[in-house]
């Protein structure tokens, strides 16, 4: 989630009021933004992704002053016509949507330029999904000659000076040479042509989705009027982004001018700052929140969050991207009402508790083993492939992760024993005997499952001390199965992890429940363990089924 830095002084100027620091902290948190810290004049606030309109001081102050009751209700913005045109060529199918506007009579200083750049960056990362869905450019108006064309071209045919560069470079070198080209090139993987904004004199304004031109696309303190373009793959997303920019600039004192967008088969005018409407049912609001608001109160709370209201409908400001359903309005009403002001109630509803039967069964095993002085361990489900195969002298199919955090955690474990041996390896300095166990999930490839993975819970028991041998682990299994009244047989088997002649399967009703045995010295050596180990690993789900069937 993006964090923005707001200047307290700017915020206070926009709100027109100074708040004590505690009140400020509290109100910022309760508005639905996460206050990280306040350092002298800087307020660091985390903005949730549903409120990109708060990513600038102006936007934040607008919401905040409504919330604290200074200037509530729907903001209205005037739009004048600029008579400027943007021609959208049909070639831009890879990024077909664009919306533009002009804002005049601005006064820029370092502070404002910082605010606009911060907003542009944060918005493109969140609302624009790292520029994939949309991105935005702002240009000093006086350098541009209208009409402008939005058109896709072969980058080999274009040369321009990208932002921050001293000379023109061929546009097809952007991905190699420009930092944004490197960063965002996967967006354009399948493109052969790239969309450009080009003015009527053939000068490049920008190459999408990478960079403005250094000649035309750089605002500074002398800039008074700006041209704004937003482009992307989703019209609504692009339009809301433009609305967030123009309203922010208007809040800075600018005047909004519209632009005529000329498509091959239609014309439209942007920006469109008309509020959208959504039906709001006061009974639904009260039921969900447990309140008893009347219409007047509800209107007041909506106004605190910047909404209007007319005839049972909420009027949603054109810069709000997050209102999909009236529950979104209900949340804003709850925020305006104050989360802290809701009572805490536990309703008197009778429901019957039920612990999961398998979980109960596992606890019975656990407490039997604790009675035998075993320690329960808790190991990761992700382990190195080599640990569960090579170290154990076996070959088998295991399930890898596509992008593991490191090779130490690159597969899902298919059995528990390697994890427990790793624990003993790391505990050689501690006191013996080291008798441990764990019941946990293992993962096996299984094409029959919708997820292609079968999950089972295994029980693994490990005895480690100088006097240990096969007999000791057999005694433990015998005790366990006797306590659960399971009749079983032990059948000698072969397993590469064990000493030949000291490994067996536990058989119940002709089905193997797992195995037990004394580990082969090569396995011990692989783990650099110098104390004998006897182990078992049983299918706990199967054990549970047997026990449930018997009882």
């Amino acid at each position: 989630m993006p964090t923005i830095v707001l200047k307290k002084s700017v915020l206070e100027k926009v709100i027109g009021k100074k708040l004590p620091i505690d009140k400020l902290k509290d109100r910022i948190s309760m508005l639905g933004t996460n206050l990280e810290k306040i350092e002298s004049d800087e307020i660091h606030v985390e903005i949730f992704p549903n409120r990109p309109d708060l990513l600038s001081e102006q936007g934040f102050a607008r919401a905040f002053s409504s919330f604290i009751g200074i200037k509530t209700g729907l903001r209205e913005y005037k739009i004048k016509s600029s008579n400027c045109k943007v021609i959208v060529d049909k070639s831009v199918a890879m990024r077909p949507y664009t919306a533009c506007a002009i804002v005049k009579n601005l006064k820029f200083n370092d502070e404002r330029i910082r605010e606009i750049i911060q907003m542009q960056e944060k918005l493109a990362t969140t609302h624009g999904r790292k520029r994939k869905k949309s991105c935005y450019g702002i240009y000093p108006l006086q350098k541009i000659n209208f009409p402008i064309t939005y058109i896709a071209k072969d980058p080999k045919t274009i040369k321009f000076k990208p932002l921050g560069f001293k000379e023109d470079i061929p546009a097809d070198k952007i991905e190699e040479l420009h930092p944004t080209g490197k960063e965002y090139k996967q967006i354009t993987e399948s493109w052969t042509k790239y969309p450009f904004y080009i003015d009527c004199k053939g000068k490049v304004l920008s190459m999408l989705p990478y960079t403005n031109s250094d000649d035309l696309g750089k605002i500074d303190e002398t800039t008074k009027d700006v041209f704004i373009e937003c482009t992307g793959t989703d019209y609504q997303n692009v339009e809301i982004a433009l609305n967030m920019f123009v309203t922010t600039l208007a809040d800075m004192g600018g005047e909004i001018y519209s632009i005529e967008m000329i498509y091959p088969n239609k014309t439209s005018t942007t920006p469109n700052l008309n509020p959208s409407e959504m039906k709001i049912d006061i009974n639904y609001v009260n039921k969900r929140l447990g309140l008893n608001l009347n219409e007047k109160e509800m209107i007041k709370y909506l106004a605190s969050m910047g909404f209007g209201y007319k005839n049972g409908k909420a009027l949603i400001p054109s810069y709000r991207a997050d209102i999909l359903h009236q529950v979104d309005l209900i949340e804003d009403i709850a925020i305006a009402y104050g989360y802290e002001n809701f009572e805490e109630i536990i309703p008197k509803v009778a429901t019957i508790a039920q612990e999961d039967e398998f979980e109960k069964f596992k606890k019975k095993i656990i407490y039997l083993l604790i009675g035998l002085n075993f320690l329960e361990t808790n190991s990761y489900h992700l382990i190195p492939k080599t640990l569960q195969l090579n170290n154990m002298n076996i070959q088998s199919e295991v399930i890898p992760l596509v992008d593991p955090i490191s090779i130490e955690y690159n597969t899902l474990r298919s059995w528990l024993l390697p994890s427990l041996l790793q624990i003993l390896k790391e505990n050689k300095h501690n006191e013996y005997p080291q008798n441990i166990f764990e019941i946990a999930t293992v993962f096996l490839p299984d094409k029959q499952k919708a997820t292609l993975v079968d999950e089972k819970q295994h029980l693994s028991i490990v005895l480690c001390n100088p006097e240990i041998d096969y007999t000791k682990i057999k005694q433990v299994i015998d005790y366990l199965l006797r306590m659960f009244s399971i009749e079983y047989t032990i059948k000698e088997t072969a397993h590469p992890s064990f000493i030949p002649g000291r490994v067996a399967e536990v058989i119940v009703n002709k089905i193997s429940l797992g195995f037990l045995g004394e580990l082969h010295p090569t396995v011990l050596t692989n783990f650099t363990i110098d104390t004998p180990i006897a182990v078992c690993e049983l299918d706990c789900n199967m054990l549970f089924e047997l026990v449930s069937k018997n009882n």
Binding site: S29, M30, L31, T33, P49, R51, T126, R129, D234, Q236, K287, R288, L289, L324, H325, Q326, E331, A334, I335, Y339, F342, E343, E344, I345, I346, P347, V349, T351, A353, Q354, D356, F358, E359, L369, G371, L375, E376, T377, S379, H381, L382, P400, L401, V402, D403, P404, I405, L412, E426, N427, N430, E431, Q434, F443, K449, A450, T451, L452, V453, E455
Partner: protein, 515 residues
């Protein structure tokens, strides 16, 4: 007093009984070892116990002692070389060979002596033919006188080392002289322990130590009734004993068991389920848009060998598709994008236990309501390991499906749960999750540190989640809470990785979850 002495006497360990009577005559451990014929460690141990019981006191003083070294031991018998040299010529001058013979000096000693004595003007040397004639001077006679003191000092060291502080002025001068020479004397630091009986000790040592005391009650004694005549030693029952440990649940699982019990006490049914799911179950069913940043590989573990594996979607997947694309019949606009089956069929490790809540909603029928469910289970996030982050950790999820549930109840359930966890002050703040509206962030006040700690998210499931799964817009209160911070704070763990370190010493020694 006498009774106390009697009890004290009966408590004496067999070793103490052997050592105590010897202390009056012997005031150092060495002497006691000799007198008792016990091993040194046994004596030291017995003395330690006696001292703990205030039966004896010991005193240790740092002091410097002087003692004979290798050459010194020889010289203390036959005299210092130059002393012998001078003795040989004391009455009349002698030739070299004569001196060597009389003073028993070898060639090397002889050369050293000559050099030394000449420097001190103690002798005159006259060359005669191939020989030297050596005569003592007046100065030489004085040197010889002084040598006698040095010799006496050496002799005084033959019996035992001497405390430097106890030396006379002359002796100190001799010592300073001799310590500059090779291997004659050595100065060492000593920390001698002297033992004396306390008043109690004196009383005790008057007791009759010849009475036989029984240390251990044996099966034999019980069988042959000899216990009747036995006098059992009284044990010091208050003394520290060696520590033992036993079998135990892992400390984190003790806490998890308690968490489960709270929800059971509150009438919730337990949900369990798999770790591996399709993105469809884990994310799409919960209305998380397919381009949501949390779905990227930076946050989520997808399964597959270099390429992500794709599982199978259920037959009715389109109801989820339409909700995402246009809201379907939920009254929502939807996310308004093209929903991808490919994206939904990706296989992942569950990123939250909320996936079980979603699956549970799908199974419920109207007659099951109202209903309350919880689960406590592991979740996985693609996060690098460090002292405050794990890639695998427990999460608590709960849902209340009740036509009459509302936001106030959500606050009520959360407060009740955290109160039982020992955190009675709960605060909620606005937050954002794609599947709840209103959404809240849950903080609790640490009762000691008085800091708010973030413990998870909660809210009321969006109709876009509930309607496709349950078939109707019924309020579903939901939460997904972390346990890590409460559990590690309870056990005093500062590095969260300790939860999975499985250091057996730590597992053995860790205090119980006492709640």
């Amino acid at each position: 007093m006498q009774q106390d002495i009697q009890i004290l006497f009966e408590k004496l360990h067999p070793l103490e009984r052997k050592v105590l009577p010897l202390i009056k005559e012997n005031n150092t451990p060495d002497k006691i070892v000799l007198a008792s014929k016990l091993q040194e460690v046994e004596v030291i141990r017995a003395l330690q116990w006696l001292e703990n019981k205030k039966i004896i006191t010991t005193k240790e003083e740092l002091k410097e002692v002087v003692l004979l070294d290798n050459n010194g031991r020889t010289y203390s018998k036959i005299g210092l070389p130059e002393q012998r040299f001078l003795e040989a010529i004391k009455s009349s001058s002698q030739m070299t060979d004569e001196i060597k013979k009389f003073a028993k000096l070898d060639e090397a000693e002889y050369s050293v002596c000559i050099g030394l004595l000449r420097r001190k003007n103690a002798v005159t040397i006259k060359k005669e033919a191939n020989n030297l004639q050596i005569t003592i001077t007046e100065e030489g006679k004085k040197v010889l006188e002084k040598q006698k003191y040095d010799y006496q000092f050496l002799r005084s060291l033959t019996a035992e080392e001497r405390d430097i502080a106890s030396l006379t002025l002359d002796e100190t001068e001799s010592m300073n002289e001799l310590k500059q020479r090779k291997d004659i004397i050595r100065i060492e630091l000593r920390k001698p322990k002297t033992i004396s009986l306390t008043e109690i000790g004196k009383e005790l040592s008057k007791m009759n130590f010849s009475v036989s005391i029984t240390e251990k009650l044996t099966q034999e004694m019980l069988k042959n009734n000899s216990w009747k005549d036995a006098k059992f030693r009284r044990f010091d029952v208050e003394i520290n004993v060696p520590k033992i440990t036993g079998g135990k649940r892992h400390f984190e699982n003790q806490a998890i068991e308690y968490v489960k019990q709270i929800w059971l006490d509150m009438g919730f049914k337990e949900m369990t389920g798999n770790y591996v799911h399709t993105a469809y179950q884990d994310l799409d069913m919960l209305f998380v848009p397919q381009d949501h940043p949390a779905r990227t590989m930076q946050d989520t573990f997808y399964l597959g060998n270099k390429k992500i594996m794709h599982g199978r979607l259920p037959k009715d997947f389109k109801k989820i598709k339409y909700v995402h694309e246009n809201g379907a019949d939920t009254g929502s606009k939807g996310w308004r994008y093209k929903w991808s089956e490919e994206e939904a069929s990706k296989i992942l490790l569950r990123t939250h236990t909320t996936v079980l809540s979603a699956l549970k909603l799908q199974q419920l029928k109207k007659q099951d309501l109202p209903a309350k469910f919880f689960t406590v289970g592991k979740v996985f996030r693609n996060e690098a390991l460090d002292w405050k982050h794990l890639f695998e950790f427990y999460q608590i999820d709960g849902i209340v499906i009740d036509p009459n549930a509302n936001f106030k109840h959500l606050k009520g359930y959360l407060r009740e749960f955290f109160g039982k966890m020992g955190y009675p002050d709960v605060r909620i703040r606005p937050a954002h999750f794609p599947y709840t509206e209103p959404s809240v962030e849950v903080d609790v006040l640490h009762p000691v540190k008085k800091e708010w700690i973030e413990l998870g998210g909660a809210g009321i499931f969006r109709p876009e989640v509930v309607i496709p799964l349950l078939g109707e817009d019924i309020p579903v209160l939901a939460w997904g809470l972390g346990t890590g911070r409460i559990v590690s704070s309870y056990y005093g763990i500062t590095d969260i990785r300790d939860m999975y370190k499985n250091d057996l010493k730590q597992l053995r020694e860790m205090k119980l979850w006492i709640k």
